[in-house]
Symmetry: D2
Subunit: 360 residues, 4 copies
Amino acid sequence: MKALVVYPPNKGVEVKEIDSIGQSISGEEALIKTIANGICGTDRGIVSGLLKFSRPPEGKNNLVLGHENLGQVIDKGPNVQGLSKGDYVVSIVRRGCGKCSNCLAGRQDFCETGEFVEAGIRGLDGFMREFYIDNASYLVRIPNEIVDIAVLLEPLSNVVKAYNELMLTQKRMIWWCKDGSYDCRNVVVVGSGPIGLLFSLIFSVQGFNTFVLNKRDPFPIESEIIEKINAKFINATKDQLPNVIDMLIDTSGYPPAFIPLMDKLNKNSAVILFGTTGGEKFEVNADLITYLVENNVLLFGSVNASKKDFEEGVNYLTIWKYRYPNVLNKMITRVVKPEEAPEVLYAKPRGEIKTIISWV
Amino acid sequence: MKALVVYPPNKGVEVKEIDSIGQSISGEEALIKTIANGICGTDRGIVSGLLKFSRPPEGKNNLVLGHENLGQVIDKGPNVQGLSKGDYVVSIVRRGCGKCSNCLAGRQDFCETGEFVEAGIRGLDGFMREFYIDNASYLVRIPNEIVDIAVLLEPLSNVVKAYNELMLTQKRMIWWCKDGSYDCRNVVVVGSGPIGLLFSLIFSVQGFNTFVLNKRDPFPIESEIIEKINAKFINATKDQLPNVIDMLIDTSGYPPAFIPLMDKLNKNSAVILFGTTGGEKFEVNADLITYLVENNVLLFGSVNASKKDFEEGVNYLTIWKYRYPNVLNKMITRVVKPEEAPEVLYAKPRGEIKTIISWV
Amino acid sequence: MKALVVYPPNKGVEVKEIDSIGQSISGEEALIKTIANGICGTDRGIVSGLLKFSRPPEGKNNLVLGHENLGQVIDKGPNVQGLSKGDYVVSIVRRGCGKCSNCLAGRQDFCETGEFVEAGIRGLDGFMREFYIDNASYLVRIPNEIVDIAVLLEPLSNVVKAYNELMLTQKRMIWWCKDGSYDCRNVVVVGSGPIGLLFSLIFSVQGFNTFVLNKRDPFPIESEIIEKINAKFINATKDQLPNVIDMLIDTSGYPPAFIPLMDKLNKNSAVILFGTTGGEKFEVNADLITYLVENNVLLFGSVNASKKDFEEGVNYLTIWKYRYPNVLNKMITRVVKPEEAPEVLYAKPRGEIKTIISWV
Amino acid sequence: MKALVVYPPNKGVEVKEIDSIGQSISGEEALIKTIANGICGTDRGIVSGLLKFSRPPEGKNNLVLGHENLGQVIDKGPNVQGLSKGDYVVSIVRRGCGKCSNCLAGRQDFCETGEFVEAGIRGLDGFMREFYIDNASYLVRIPNEIVDIAVLLEPLSNVVKAYNELMLTQKRMIWWCKDGSYDCRNVVVVGSGPIGLLFSLIFSVQGFNTFVLNKRDPFPIESEIIEKINAKFINATKDQLPNVIDMLIDTSGYPPAFIPLMDKLNKNSAVILFGTTGGEKFEVNADLITYLVENNVLLFGSVNASKKDFEEGVNYLTIWKYRYPNVLNKMITRVVKPEEAPEVLYAKPRGEIKTIISWV
């Protein structure tokens, strides 16, 4: 069958004919036909050879690329419950180490040994291929109403995890507003890419005042989306920020983009670090440290997601689809065939929010 | 204007012409045109004179009935933000005492002084009238897609609070399943009325295996709804319960209905008490107490909801409307005019899930 | 060597010469010389043959009794860290199933399979013998200053667990007082046995107003202890209870002793069930259920403890020893030799708080 | 009466005769005779005129210095409960704004308006004077056994708050060790001043492996203390750090001292920022940000404490005094009379851990 194959740590990607998966699936497994994959910065980092932690499965010299996924159950083992043939599913990406308490408890997003594998990224073949077999415990069923946008679920799951972590950690004080809601809180999301928009969506439907920041004017599609979700676009080079920031989300990984905003952080505020980029620097001085101390500011980096986060993501997709018509589908700015994927994997199309590979 | 007026602690209800509300609204207020009210057991308890804590506002000898509500903003004061004329809104019911820490922090559902008032129930006129004025901080905006079912939001808000409290209190151990989801957990909801169905819905979309229990066969509409939401109806007089119960929700308030089920409670399980009824008894023996101890069982009563719970309820309504088409709307089994309301307030129509008074 | 041996589910206990433990201890193990054991109701339940879940280790027809323990490290394997020969230690009692997430994460007190074993109770020989070998991961080091009272640590650990669970679950609202302390909260502990006194101690040093209730006048030693810890003894048959109860702790397992007090429970209050007894009954009516609902009352049963709870118990013992001189040591009302133990295991000595078997 | 008076924002401190406090104390107040004050960097910052946020009470041009305190109740109003004449007390420092939810709930350490006052620091006279009157709700009773070291309670309270916040926020995953304890966790405390030592003490008695880091060899008194508390001193210029750091505490406020250690942070680790200093810089690069993201690292600044934290601090002092004899008292490296205080307020004595002003 056809697959998109990479050779980490070397660069390159090719559409290649690989061995068909075997016929037999075990009791707990399902055979999945791939419907679509999303492409993200991690995929391009692997293709360019820059993402140093990417590696093939043990004993192989190449890797099937792809972690953002949507598929359909074609067949299933006799012990698979809660799934039927024809059901749409999304596979979770990280598979636990089987050793640390978090992995043993299904929270491999907090794996402590680092011995996990991630489909399409490190140590496990990914989902950019016609078919794959997976243990049903890694599959999240997609309800009918969101099949058209469910390819966004995997990136969303990571956003859900970070949001849930925020809500837990902010229980260190009374953080909600006087009326019991979050209507008084300003959230600034640095970056207007797919992750930035998903963060904006999640805060918006929870009642936060949401601002999306970039260092340029918005593309028309960004303007349209951000307006529809009741958020506000801010061009950092000329527009006014809100007076205080209660929550700062960095999706850029670029220190000069978010550290300078930290002097607007409110007392009791929080910062989520979500972006990962290489090479940029920024000078931190002791005044900033004092500011974080004096104002009880919390900051955390967040990566990956658990199956529960995927399941909650399913619910968010349904809310957003009907609350904000023509937002999620418009985030898919381009659909390509597998054969066309290498081109968009080497270079991000201008104006892209999310490019999708369609297998059907 | 027209209103449904009661005389607690005496019985009776009448449609009555009451004084129009004044013209002037203050800066933070909105003028609301009532669209619909739901009728629940509390309303009937007041009308029958059995609900002893019901009372008119201070200095009045009658009370405008009605706490389940949906209205539309007709006018608003200059300081009202986040609401526009024409917006649909639901008012929260309980207004805090202004003294205890919970009320001062917008969590009047945990008022400790007991000096709160509740619209249509105790000390504050309710929403069964053509118009009313309310401070905007008590108003929850209803997005367009769920206006048709938003009259269910007030009862739902209480269910959301109880669910959130459960999720917090069960953090006392690792309670999720091995795959990080709740797919391995069995929830039994005692009672198939509107509250029972709303609990079933909330557990269903979170991935729990949900069972709805009553002591009779389901009405056809109940069968239809319960099947659509992937739950299972259990006739307690003849059907088999699941082997273990991880979560038991009582919406009946009737001890003989749920206490006998408690010997099926799993280790680390929880029980939510939500129903309030008078007069029934059940003998508890020391073996049950020992069972609760030995199995780390948690149980809590839950009442009322905060504004945040209403806001989350809005999101659940959107999910359910599109996940389970023709469920929420079918829960509204009857719509009556205000003039017809006394009849359904005196006696519950047979087969009723939720009866609504429509003012438009 | 000498040991106290029982034959569950049959009654009886005898001092018996059993095989010496082997010479060789593995890398992670320590050889412990028993210093003392406490005797509690569970021991007497096993001796009397009434405690039905007690059982010998697999393949044996008898069981070494004893779970409350204090010992001294005589020898240790090469991989044991953080312990030296001569160190005093207390062994934790329950050993996890090795399967469920809680046991895999060291929280066997929340074991979900029920396949755990408990030293001296079910499936594992206990500590009423001259020597035993244990894996060092089950040993809690006892600092010098509390060696004289450390035999109380095992029962205390269970109290610590329950207290910690309470503090977590009460985060469902703002439960502390207006000044940030717990000085405004009334705790009523039902039962003045060792567990009742340990609960009183833990609440007292956290600032709660603590009341210890029994259905009789206090013994002189109880009066002395309760006064010293700033608590108040209440004879339920004649003394006045506090007007409201914020926290009710039952250590009796006897429904008629605590259920009638529940109508004094404050809004947002909590009940801990800790006692386990057989045979008594009490009639619960729907009004009580309604009361629990309307007042957001939480209740939980609590059993066993994790190693962390033991470690926190160590700290409590140090506080109490120096805060309340002559309290903990006076709780040890009798010390017997192993040969005398059967007598006090068959029948509780009058006026006993805690009877100890001394092996040195 | 005598007092130490400062003139913020100008530099200088003098021993001055000020007006006696009035005779009459209101119902909820107590008259306190000062026993001792501790001196910390904040005091010296005010004296030097460098601490810009320091200010006199409204309408005054000077400020009585002093926030670390210990006093004795000389008289009390009729409504004061839980305190007797002769009781030793410590006053909490910050007084809430009376407006925000946190202050209204007694959590002024999380004040959101910034309109709080702090005794001896900003807007409220401090405790370096012979007598003062305070509302009893701000007083923490000191049990007899720790009167000699209770002047350490105020700085300790801030450490307790930070520790509690850590334990709450780390509930985002399973963070304890496989045996349920924290024995597998390495804590590195940057700075060996009084705050660094108090942090080391709190982590040590909770079972963490604790390392105290400075950029020099320890003073003899530091060596002695750190060895007694089972911690390990690390001279950052030559000694080896532990391989992984699970918890990094900065008490220096000096970015070059702790940021370079962050590449040793374990997965799921946390960083507490506690130090506040001016002027130093350090370059942060995107790799560090990526590291925080990929490893789920959490970081928070922490300031001030609630009354509950003071009360828990009381308990820690008792534990430490008897667990580690001759540690806490040796932390008080110098005791001066009020007349000698200006000298030590202008310049920190060499080898100081904590200098105390004694008023008796």
